[in-house]
């Protein structure tokens, strides 16, 4: 038994070599696997906020309420801007900027939390200085979905396009993304 089994193993290796691995890889590319047919449970949703996100639309909340999930709000101040201010102006104006931003952020978080909780969604919040794209992608690994305002990290551009950072995040995260 042991001999015949290892004999078949050896023969298989000698006849097929590594071809089977490449075949399997090709199949995986287009077969909807059993795991993929199951829509993954959404338990936590990451929602990054910043200076350019003013509000969450009611439609978006309506969609979010479909999931039985906790929403993690994260207010992010761009580390690049802080750094730039530090170099261009002085330390005290940077601190002033940061303080103002923090105050704005706290208000926004409070307002948003209130609105979400009004609709029965549970939330948690955090605030930090970081990179608006990379940090979101990193944090998204611990969440089941990201919800992005299409103006997030965009500056006050007036055209009706989507923020390039939002697109980049969409491209890089492994979870579904809700753009509102």
């Amino acid at each position: 038994m042991g001999y015949s089994s290892s004999l078949i193993q050896r023969k298989f290796k000698d006849i097929v070599g590594r071809r089977y691995d490449s075949v399997l890889k090709e199949y995986r590319e287009f077969l909807l696997t059993e795991e993929e047919v199951l829509v993954p449970e959404v338990r936590s949703i990451l929602m990054p906020l910043d200076f350019f996100v003013h509000d969450i639309t009611n439609e978006a909340i309506d969609v979010l309420s479909a999931y039985d999930a906790t929403i993690s709000l994260a207010y992010i101040t761009d580390a690049g801007v802080v750094d730039l201010l530090e170099r261009a102006l002085n330390h005290s104006s940077t601190e002033e900027f940061q303080a103002k931003k923090e105050e704005y952020g706290r208000k926004l978080l409070k307002r948003t939390t209130a609105k979400l909780e009004e609709h029965g969604l549970s939330t948690q919040t955090r605030m930090f200085v970081g990179h608006k794209g990379d940090d979101v992608v990193q944090m998204a690994k611990n969440h089941d979905m990201v919800a992005l305002c299409r103006r997030y990290a965009d500056g006050e551009s007036t055209d009706a396009s989507i923020s390039p950072i939002v697109l980049r995040i969409c491209q890089r995260v492994e979870t579904p993304a809700l753009i509102y």
């Binding site: 089994s5 004999l7 078949i8 399997l24 287009f30 059993e34 047919v37």
Partner: protein, 440 residues
């Protein structure tokens, strides 16, 4: 016996032992054996060129180029998904359809590639249906060996016989095709009787299965639509050419008057012409395609031809033939012996080295008897004999190897029980038909 003859026999047996054991790659074993008989001068250069059957090697090479180019288009995956959908969630239909598709594809393209590409889909379906995959897998193995036996290009033994004897593609189809159709029907009936009861899916689950299978997208399998179409066109053209390869001159002469109407093409030429057209038309990178040619297999063949050549050069084969002639009374008797010997021997050793040794033997018999029916006996025995054991043919090893990697054990003994039954029934039926044709 002379010393050189003893050495030739020793090398032959030693190489066979290595091939069966496969601790050393069979291509290396064959090359090493060949190196010994060449080194000590048993097979001199002129004889080497004569014994190495380039018809076989070039035919294999041409078909490998075509198959590997076509593979890149997703053709096989497309076929697999279409077959899965056609089955509409019925286990029995999955079994029958996959067996038929495997048989037909194996009849024209190489068995290893066919089962290598169809098996993952079969495993997937069995998993979706929550059924034991073993009945489906063993049926696929048997079908690939039966289907391969039907044509000149279906299975290596047939390729070797065709190349050595010059028998045409159509002769193979005429003499072996009907046998394989009947054997296939018998095979499916046997599989149904053996496994039918275990293949039940309740209606609700069946609906779920159909839905899952319908969500597979066969068009997503087509990686390259244009290559897909070109591959289909070239494979179709090559198959067509095989059907007329021995009288291609007559056909060409009508359009191109300067072509000699007596001209015929060797199967190897047909395959290489097809390969050239596909490479030219598809603009695939030749480096990539040529890299995918299974060089180990080709060197395995080359080495075997030289080792068997040593047996011919030293007169061993002629001696065995003489003994056979003395003891065999009629063509019918010879057919019986060749068929069953080839069948049982190819169940134990791979059928390729067996055929390599049998071909010169039958050629020698040709001096004293009509060997035409014996070629069909050999093809029948060598191809269907592969069904007997888990190591009888390459396709068996590939399917069982894949199953093992996916955690499904098909033990040597379990396979042997079903395989031997299939071997005896299909070979007996085939031999019966040949007997009626040639020995009555």
């Amino acid at each position: 016996m002379e010393t050189v003859a003893l050495i030739a026999v020793a090398v032959f047996l030693f190489t066979y032992a290595l091939i069966v054991d496969e601790r050393i790659h069979r291509a290396v074993a064959a090359m090493f054996g060949a190196a010994i008989v060449v080194f000590i001068g048993i097979v001199p250069w002129e004889a080497l060129l004569e014994h190495v059957d380039f018809g076989t090697i070039l035919l294999l090479m041409g078909m490998m180029i075509i198959v590997n180019t076509a593979r890149g288009s997703g053709l096989f995956e497309y076929i697999a998904i279409r077959t899965a959908k056609l089955a509409k969630g019925s286990p029995l239909r999955v079994l029958v359809l996959f067996a038929l598709v495997t048989a037909v594809v194996s009849a024209f393209l190489d068995n290893v590639t066919t089962v290598l590409l169809l098996t993952p889909m079969l495993l997937y379906i069995a998993k979706v249906m929550k059924l034991n995959p073993i009945p489906f897998l063993v049926t696929e193995i048997f079908a690939s060996n039966v289907g391969g036996a039907a044509t000149l290009i279906g299975d290596p033994p047939n390729i070797m016989i065709g190349s050595a004897t010059g028998l045409s593609f159509n002769e193979f189809v005429i003499h072996l095709g009907p046998i394989m159709v009947i054997d296939m029907a018998i095979l499916l009936l046997m599989m149904y009787l053996i496994y039918g009861r275990s293949m039940k899916v309740n209606p609700e689950e069946r609906e779920e299965v159909v839905r899952t299978l319908n969500s597979l997208d066969e068009r997503a399998a087509i990686v390259d639509r244009s290559l897909f179409n070109k591959s289909l066109a070239v494979i179709g053209f090559v198959i067509l050419l095989f059907f007329v390869h021995d009288r291609i001159g007559e056909i060409l002469h009508v359009f191109l008057p300067f072509v000699d109407p007596a001209m015929g093409l060797e199967p190897a030429e047909v395959a290489l012409i097809g390969a050239a057209i596909l490479l030219f038309w598809s603009r695939q990178s030749p480096e990539e395609i040529f890299e995918k040619i299974e060089w180990p297999a080709l060197f395995f063949f080359g080495g075997l031809f030289v080792i068997v050549g040593a047996l011919v050069e030293t007169g061993i084969i002629a001696n065995i033939a003489a003994v056979m002639v003395e003891n065999v009374g009629s063509t019918g008797e010879a057919m019986f012996i060749v068929t069953w010997f080839a069948a049982i021997a190819s169940a134990i050793v791979d059928n390729i080295p067996l055929t390599a040794a049998m071909i010169p033997l039958i050629q020698d018999l040709g001096a004293t008897m009509d060997v035409y029916p014996l070629w069909w006996s050999l093809a029948l025995g060598a191809c269907l004999g592969g069904n007997g054991t888990a190591i009888g043919a390459s396709a068996n090893v590939v399917v069982i190897g894949i199953a093992e990697r996916e955690g499904i054990g098909i033990s040597f003994v379990d396979f042997l029980k079903v395989g031997m039954l299939v071997l005896f029934v299909t070979v007996a039926v085939g031999l019966g038909i040949l007997w009626l044709k040639f020995a009555m």
